[in-house]
Symmetry: C2
Subunit: 406 residues, 2 copies
């Protein structure tokens, strides 16, 4: 990628963020009446449900706070972050301190705190909000949540665990991935001496347990010793999740290794380099890309046997934006053209299929052919998060590419 191309991309990504994505959420999601954010928004921004989902509340607090901190200290962004932070402060926590999964519009709890990711995303939101607002309660609550997540992470569902672990002790990759992102969000809030081992731990778990070097795949579910369960669980591939994880892994170790690759490498298990991590992206996309219709499948089976997830061949927005960021970062790290080629291919398909030029923002759920299957712009699982976060990450990487090309 030439310097001029990086500049052009950067301008395009920043324009998308500031002219298309952020305005949509500012216009439609702020709940001035009850506080917090409206999550369920139709194609044109119309509200189709007023329940509030805590993953989405926490993520939007993070997003507005992060815009304020890293783009520009606009009072409106801080106000928008405060709207969410005050709401979850008042209503988000259950009696035992864990965060509910959902609330009604006014804040009455609807679904129990069975899901640790409510806590993870509220933690991220409050950490970033505490930083930009200077409000001590937010930073303190973020810190309490951090400790609580560390306590819970080995048994994240607690009493809500339906799987009988002693008979099939599977581990999923999601907590390792989220921890890598949190390690970035919490930089400066938690002592380095505490953060660094967690990054190394996540890197080790992902690279030695979930990544299979012989079979060239990143598996979603493995046993504690890294072997794969028999059957469909053991064969499950989630290309978007694998690429998001590899991106966050490389991003986290890059940040800690501020003085360059050799320093970053010490957060990786023995024998690993950043470039070797990038290679796993190629295995993943080669299995995940739909050669017939384009785009990246949601799920695949390693042996191309049947999947039992109905949505397996759908094309999801977050999969594509995370994949785009991953290949761009891999290109920056390695300089290799194959990563740039994949970045461009994914970027073109993503721009061409997910964007909604008529009503703004992006569709979330396309069918295999790339046509919208659901019309919503926001819902239980889609909010102000993956798209703006990826656009910011990418803009940042384009900036680095420009500097490196000088």
């Amino acid at each position: 990628m030439t310097k001029a191309e990086a500049l052009t991309f950067q301008a395009e990504f920043e324009a998308e963020l500031h002219e298309n994505i952020v305005p949509f959420w500012e216009k439609f999601s702020l709940d001035a009446e009850y506080g917090g954010y409206i999550n369920c928004l139709d194609r044109d921004g119309t509200i189709f449900d007023t329940d509030k989902f805590m993953w989405m509340q926490g993520r939007e607090i993070w997003c507005f706070s992060h815009l304020y901190r890293t783009i520009a200290p606009r009072p409106g962004w801080l106000e928008s972050a405060r709207l969410g932070a005050d709401f979850i402060r008042k209503f988000g926590r259950s009696e035992n301190g864990d965060y509910y999964f959902s609330l009604d519009r006014a804040g009455k709890p609807l679904v129990q705190p069975y899901n640790i990711f409510s806590d993870c995303f509220c933690a991220a939101g409050l950490a970033e909000y505490g930083r930009v607002s200077g409000e001590a309660w937010a930073a303190e609550e973020a810190l309490r949540l951090w400790r609580r997540i560390q306590d819970r992470k080995s048994n994240p569902k607690g009493m809500w665990t339906k799987q009988i672990g002693e008979n099939r002790p599977q581990r999923a990759m999601a907590i390792s991935m989220t921890q890598l992102w949190l390690s970035e969000v919490y930089e400066g809030l938690v002592p380095e001496a505490e953060l660094e081992p967690l990054v190394a731990e996540s890197a080790r778990d992902i690279l030695t347990l979930h990544m299979d070097l012989e079979r060239h795949a990143v598996f979603e579910r493995v046993f504690a010793d890294g072997s794969q369960p028999q059957g469909m669980d053991g064969r499950l591939l989630s290309p978007g999740h694998a690429l998001e994880t590899l991106f966050l892994l490389l991003n986290a170790v890059s940040r800690l290794g501020v003085r360059g690759e050799s320093e970053a490498t010490r957060f990786l298990p023995e024998g690993w380099t950043m470039a070797r991590v990038c290679e796993a992206m190629l295995w993943t996309i080669e299995r995940g890309w739909d050669e017939e219709h384009g785009g990246i499948y949601y799920y695949r089976d390693y042996e191309n046997r049947p999947l039992d997830k109905l949505e397996s061949d759908m094309k999801l927005w977050w999969v594509h934006v995370e994949a785009m960021s991953a290949f761009l970062l891999a290109h920056r790290i390695t300089g290799k053209p194959e990563y740039e080629a994949w970045f461009r291919r994914i970027k073109d398909w993503t721009w061409g299929h997910f964007r909604d030029p008529e009503y703004g923002e992006w569709y979330g759920y396309l069918d295999r052919r790339g046509e919208p299957a659901l019309s919503l712009k926001g819902g239980k699982w889609k909010g102000m998060f993956h798209i703006p976060r990826a656009l910011m990450y990418c803009a940042d990487i384009f900036g680095q590419l420009e500097k490196e090309k000088i």
Copy 2:
């Protein structure tokens, strides 16, 4: 429908059952090594996973037993039923007597008994198996399960309930529907004096709570007073589920009202007739049929607002076979041509899209256009149940139509 047409249909449905459906499960699902049934079967019958899902185990026991009782007392069918019954007898029950959700191939429990429908389908399996085998343990366990389901049904998930009921006390239609089917399966095992009020109770709950006469719709989720929750939950339509429920309701009251419609009507709430129940099928199919590609959607929103379920516009096998049975029964009850027309329309689309002439049995999951999205013939949620049950119900109704036409 003329008598000759009914005869032709009956022959076609019976051939489908005996030449296509039953042989597939006999050939591929029987686990001679460990007992029970293999559930996860690819298009050609290849096993793709060996976990055993208790809904499917119970349903297959029911199916083989029912074939034995109602079609012909072939020893092989009884043996096949025994294979499942012995397996769930040994491994199916958790310590508190509730049935696990899934086991591994050898019977080790994998997922806790969080789901009352495991108990419902094992109950049905053991009730029918107890009847045909004469094994006292099976009938006794079926009876114990029946009482236990009655105790649990007002709080079916017990400690596994994530919804905070006091803030949004929704009721789902599934338990009422299942109870109607169980009332048929348990005929003769439970005293009539106990069964009849349950049918009347289910009929009342469905017709007075879930059916909205003003808005012409059968809603999945309502409040205890029959009002609809605000938002997407309250607007949710599941056409297949509504049609299956209306079918089982009409079937149950017909069976109890053996001396004709006026007797059957006394199991319906005041002011209701069988014909009026049939009308709700028309509302349902008019909203549920896909005019562009044909077939019946999985989910719809009453106001055509966004759905948040990714699989909403997919076409599922069970939806179509239950709809087919429902319209055929409505035609028999009312004699009206509009029900026959819908029966034929659904039957043609179903035969044309779900059947797999190459490897036998039917696909379960088509995309909106009617092309297979998943290749599996059996999985966590698809087994030897909806298709053979519907073929048997329909064959039976064709038989009645033939008699009535004399």
